[in-house]
Amino acid sequence: MTQIETQVQKSTIDGRKLSLEQDFNINKYKKAKTTWVDPSHHKRRRSGFRQLTKAYLAGHSRLSSNNKVEPYAVTGTEEWLIKAFDNKKVSLSEHDLSEDQVMIKNKGRRIIGCTKRTTGAQLKSDCKILESETEFVSRPATVIINSEDNNLSLEPLECSTTRMVLRDIPENTGLESIVSQIKGGPLKQVTILKDPSSDLTNNTITFEFVYKADAIEFMKYANTNMFKINGIHHQVIWDNRPIVRDPKNDYLLATQDLNEPQKTRCLILKFNYKRKVTKYKNKFTNTIIKFDPEEMIKDFRMFGEIQAFTPVISRRVCVSIIFMDIRDSIMAMECMQNPTTYMYKRYHKKWTFWYGPDFTDQPCLT
């Protein structure tokens, strides 16, 4: 079933017949759809680059360029929600939501606030409420987040069980060496803590998983001798210290769409240009495209510290930017989609961008 068919079916259920010609710009939608990777390709046997790259992309949201403003939901107490989303711009809605939900508006976004922690099952029912009670937008309503399932917590003291610490890191062992050995699932944040009394550059590193289950799996793996960084087994411990962090951008953690795969620290950008197909195998020729990553790194560094900037294997110029913090990556993505920003002007048309998989999103094999 294609996505357009899904939309029509949902609108019928909603009792509101929508004219596709009026409410959707079909041309735009189709244009976006042509570049959409169908997750149903997942099970196909892949041997070529195109298929393998698709496999890499599948399951990760490629945000189309014609996204409209969508509602999404966050969890927290009503008092906290109002505080978190800036007193001046919040207004509670009279929408007929369930008892534990409030509708608030912030910077043009409609936000469903859940005043108690929800489970995955509850979130699905929340989705239905949201669809029936709000106008139909370009995609099904987006809901979120603070469930036990994904542990994307907004409250700073709640997620210590997903955070770990690695101490006494030897000299000449950089962040890349460490992160390359971390497995289990996507990370929310990596932090380098420098001990002022030590000369070492990276004395202690803390890292926080998005999912609690992944963190537990990694901890099991890290306790075996299989976990080695440059030949040395390091002890990983849970970091139960309270997090002191700026809550300013924490609302970004709540923008996860249940219908889309995980938002990650990794952004992938692919350059849009008409590609002249050259069969290198036969012609033995190469065209090295001029590409200077420095400016791009400079642009994205504005959002936060970058852990790595790497090339991606693709038929077009393609790079990935891995931030230290998932919120920086979400912020960068939002900026690239916001027509009023510099990042939009610079990247929106020239580049296609989406969330890529975190390098640590690999199962722990023992």
Partner: protein, 415 residues
Amino acid sequence: MSKITYSLPLHNNKNLPNQNLVTDASRYNHNKKPRSGISSSGNGLSSHVRNIYTNGTTQFSLPVKYVAIQILGKGSYGTVCSARDVTAKATQNNKEPLLAIKKITNILNREILLKRAIRELKFMKFFQGHKNIVNLIDVELILEKPYDGLYCYQELIDYDLAKVIHSSVQLTEFHIRYFIYQILCGLKYIHSAGVIHRDLKPGNILCTVNGSLKICDFGLARGIEQIAVTAVQQQDITNYVATRWYRAPEIILSRKPYDKSIDMWAVGCILGEFYNRRPLFMGNDSMHQIYQVIKTLGYPPNQLLVEYGSVKAWNLINNNSFSTTEKKDWISVLPGASADAINLMDNLLCWEPDKRISVFEALDHRFVDNVRRNNDEPSCPHGIFDFEYESHLKSMDALKEYLINEISTFRANRK
């Protein structure tokens, strides 16, 4: 005897309960007697029951926890297949627990292959945990024919560099710098342990979609001290060192011991291949290989050939079949290469091994400046790899026993 039926992806599937799995020396000594006692594991499957997979002449015997998916490649060493670990959990984002299984065959028939298998295992253990070297997950030795061989369970990587280079993947100067930098980082780690890889080529460098490289296949690796041997032994060694196209000229021409610089020559060949999208020197045999090098680098200095002291080198001095002996300009050979790349090529691909830059100098080269992470270029913390063990292993039985002990140690240390 318990039987397990699986839907297996390869042809003629059967299961093979009670197969002798050799994991320690004591069991090896009794491997001719099938074990009658089968211990049950938590999932109700016997820990000694194994599944076998056959596809033509390829035969795999795997523990029940691994389900073979497809054959990835075959070579003189054996076969590699992909598999799924059914006992490991997928990540919350549904990343499946996949791995690659390399079966090294014929090791029990030929001493040299057994020696290589031992070396490979020891190097994989020694270099475990480096970001640019492939990780070994498990290893086991199977003695029953036709499944016999050393099974190395490794992380599964999407591509190798040969696939990347010889496809329509778009490479930019940034890609090439980043790849070369990672190769140099891996090589620094290897060289710092006094080990020469000796078979560096795009096919032995694995590459993930996000551009992380991992060096694999240590079957031909040797210690630097080991190579300072007698001339007769040296001649024997050169016969199987390095894939020809990436072979340094001194391996073919010289009777003297070679050193780490042969790996740097291979790095130069790979760098050229990135720009050219085909191997730089494609020789059909060892002398044709030298002629291919001469076409680009010009004639080697006579003094150097005299120093090599081999018949091949002497014949080369007296050979006037080339119309030109001038070195070609790299810019004409490698279209699109930057000035930095050309300078690095000059330093990597030169006839004289002494003039070739070391891996440490290459990491300081401005070609990799933009992608360099100064604080993340570790040397091997275990020091120089000790090859002393090889001098004590004089017979096939001694080698076998040593391999079994190595496997046993590795498996014990995993926990």
